[in-house]
């Protein structure tokens, strides 16, 4: 019985270490304590709201987030803006709608049900405006990169002068965490770039943490309910397993064999 459990853990260890080994690059990422990690991990609400501010003021000029709707901003488990705030955010964007009864497309202020407005109409337009490089959609970005949140967090702070043996083309920058170290995005953050409403000091480190938290939420909007349900489900299973174990012992005590 104990051995079976041991074997289980070994197999799982092998599987997970296996999938890690080819996902992770050799570099050591910067570490910070993420509030959403662990059995009871939850998002830091204030950090999410600040992160949204960084996203919308800095990232959103190039990066789309096409799978999110403005209503998500007011939903539980997210930044939890009030409905009025979320409506105001939505209304600040111009949305193309239509065709109307005359067959014309028209623009109107955004509503809660609208998806996040994209900075470019399509991938080609995005590439044309960014020297051929497509700024990836950010909806699931942290799940689409091997190092996850640590990678994004490090990348945002990883800009430095290129070593003398590395030559960079125009519009290419050196980043020690980027795959191949060459990145087409200029350092997006600088100290004091945004002015936080809650008075938090907008250092590059702080903004990186906030926006990465926001990106984690955008990729996993149900993370909090997943953690909560997981704890309940596993607790339930453990209790049931114990009860079934004793029932099994009782039933098997009728035969002269061990379980």
């Amino acid at each position: 019985m104990k051995n079976l459990f041991k074997l289980f853990s070994i197999i799982i260890l092998i599987i997970t270490s296996n999938s890690y080994s080819f996902a992770a690059e050799k570099v050591e990422y910067l570490k910070t304590d993420w509030s959403f990690k662990g059995l009871f991990g939850k998002f830091d609400r204030a950090s999410l709201q600040r992160g949204y501010q960084v996203y919308t003021e800095v990232c959103a000029s190039c990066h789309s987030m096409k799978y999110l709707s403005y209503r998500n901003l007011a939903e539980p488990g997210g930044p939890e803006f009030s409905e009025a705030q979320a409506k105001a955010i939505a209304a600040s964007f111009e949305v193309t709608d239509g065709p109307n009864s005359d067959g014309e497309m028209f623009t109107r202020p955004g509503k809660l049900s609208d998806k996040f407005v994209m900075p470019y109409d399509n991938v080609k337009a995005a590439q044309a405006a960014n020297g051929g490089a497509y700024p990836p959609d950010m909806s699931v970005l942290v799940k689409a990169r091997g190092g996850g949140v640590d990678y994004i967090y490090s990348l945002l702070q990883g800009y430095e002068e290129a070593p003398s043996n590395v030559s960079l083309d125009d519009g290419v920058y050196y980043n020690k965490y980027m795959y191949g170290n060459k990145i087409r995005m200029a350092a997006p953050l600088s100290d004091g770039l945004v002015e936080y409403g809650d008075g938090t000091n907008a250092t590059v480190e702080q903004m990186s943490k906030d926006v990465t938290t926001f990106l984690m939420w955008s990729a996993e909007p149900h993370l909090e309910s997943r953690h909560q349900m997981g704890f309940k489900a596993i607790t339930y299973l453990i209790i049931l397993t114990i009860l079934v174990y004793f029932s099994m012992k009782k039933i098997w005590s009728r035969v002269e064999s061990e379980v």
Binding site: M1, S21, H227, L237, W252
Partner: protein, 420 residues
């Protein structure tokens, strides 16, 4: 199974049962005499049934929301993850369920290898099992294509391209499989159709698998034929039902851990990037459960021979009952086989590891040695071992050791509990 003279008690029951003997079947399933010394390695059959049902139920639910179209598949998966009620839960159960299914099936297969469950008179059970395993791999591969991420697209491209290795007609077959000149929308829709179909084929084969099992009855850790029913057996219900239930719950705890706390750890990050035919990922790797075969494929320098080697690695299992010449089933009484068994386990794990690594340098060398050993095990070691090995004395019944049997057997049982 024919030794039943079951008759329902009620008049209605008798009337029904005379016309359709479902009650006789139910009675057979509850009374089914099972060896009482089955250990926990025997609980994985039930666990696998659970996995299959879980995949079918969650899969049906996902199919209600998923859109099999190259332009919409990725978005519809995000729709499931965000807007469908508990869609994230259903999808994570389905995605991790595939991994859990393979984890269980590998344990099930290696249990069979250790205790010689594939030997006469259980060859048909074993062969049906191998067909199920092949279908599982096909279903899993096609399921991985459906989210239409980068790894979906390029995995599909790499695997379907294997058919181009067939001389003369290879290219034509690939075009036919794709429904075009590259992996595209027609490929996605047919993969979806087949992914939907295969689980039901598996379900049918599982019924045959169990039917075939119920003819000779279960093998057991001692590996001897036993009289049924007798002192050596217990009725399936409640003894085996509760034991399987307990093991299933343990399994579900592991399953739940992955679903709730590490739902993406077994997947590849690139599959959260929408498929893009213009950008090839740095490393194209299949899911972990296919890695050993991927390593075998890549270890052969020639494309056609690589495909042949990979297919042979699976199909060789189908003739295993005739490759293993030993009359003794359980490795408990085969001291040499037991050692080779564990070497094979290590060999397959090594193949899985190098399958995830780039096929170059030392990794490639290791993959080649491990591939060669894999075939050596089945084609040379097993046939020879049957003739050369000095096996330990086998008891006459399961109860013998319990009722104070031979000293040899006590030693054997001690060893057995060590590996348990």
């Amino acid at each position: 199974m024919s030794d039943h003279d079951y008759r329902p008690k009620s008049k209605v029951g008798q009337w029904f049962n005379d016309r359709l003997p479902l009650l006789t079947l139910a009675n057979h399933l509850t009374d089914y005499p099972t060896p009482k010394n089955l250990n926990y390695w025997w609980t994985f059959g039930g666990i696998l049934t659970f996995c299959l049902i879980t995949q079918i139920v969650t899969g049906l639910t996902l199919a209600m929301h998923y859109i099999a179209h190259a332009d919409m598949a990725f978005e519809s998966v995000e729709h499931i993850m965000r807007d469908v009620n508990y869609g994230w839960l259903i999808r994570y159960i389905h995605a991790n369920g595939a991994s859990m299914f393979f984890l269980a099936v590998y344990i099930h297969i290696f249990r069979s290898l250790f205790y010689g469950s594939y030997k006469a008179p259980r060859e048909i059970i074993w062969i049906i099992g191998i067909i199920i395993y092949l279908l599982m791999m096909a279903a899993a591969f096609m399921g991985y294509v459906l989210p239409w991420g980068q790894m979906s697209f390029w995995g599909a491209t790499v695997i379907t391209n294997l058919f181009s290795a067939i001389p003369l007609v290879g290219e034509g077959i690939v075009t036919w499989l794709w429904g075009g000149y590259s992996v595209d929308n027609p490929t996605l829709t047919r993969f979806f159709t087949l992914h939907y179909l295969i689980p039901f084929l598996i379900l049918g084969l599982v019924i045959l698998h169990i039917w075939a099992l119920h003819v000779p009855g279960n093998n057991n850790p001692v590996g001897i034929d036993i009289k049924k029913p007798s002192k050596d057996t217990v009725p399936f219900h409640p003894y085996i039902v509760i034991k399987d239930g307990f093991a299933l719950l343990m399994f579900m705890i592991v399953f739940a851990f992955f679903v709730f706390y590490a739902p993406n750890i077994l997947g590849h990050a690139d599959n959260y990037i929408e498929a893009n035919p213009m950008v090839t990922p740095a490393h194209i790797v299949p899911e972990w459960y296919l890695l050993p075969f991927y390593a075998i494929l890549r270890s052969v320098p020639d494309k056609l021979l690589g495909v042949v080697a990979m297919l042979s690695a699976i199909l060789i299992l189908a003739v295993l009952p005739w490759l293993d010449t030993s009359k003794i089933r359980s490795a408990v009484f085969r001291p040499l086989y037991k050692q080779f068994y564990w070497i094979l386990v290590a060999d397959v794990l090594i193949l899985g590891y190098v399958g995830a690594m780039p096929a170059e340098g030392l990794y490639l060398l290791i993959a080649r040695v491990a591939t060669a050993y894999y075939f050596l095990h089945f084609l040379v070691i097993l046939p020879v071992l049957g003739f050369k090995e000095k096996t330990l004395p086998v008891p006459l019944s399961i109860t013998e050791p319990v009722l104070g049997g031979s000293p040899n057997l006590a030693a054997a049982r001690n060893k057995e509990s060590k590996i348990e």
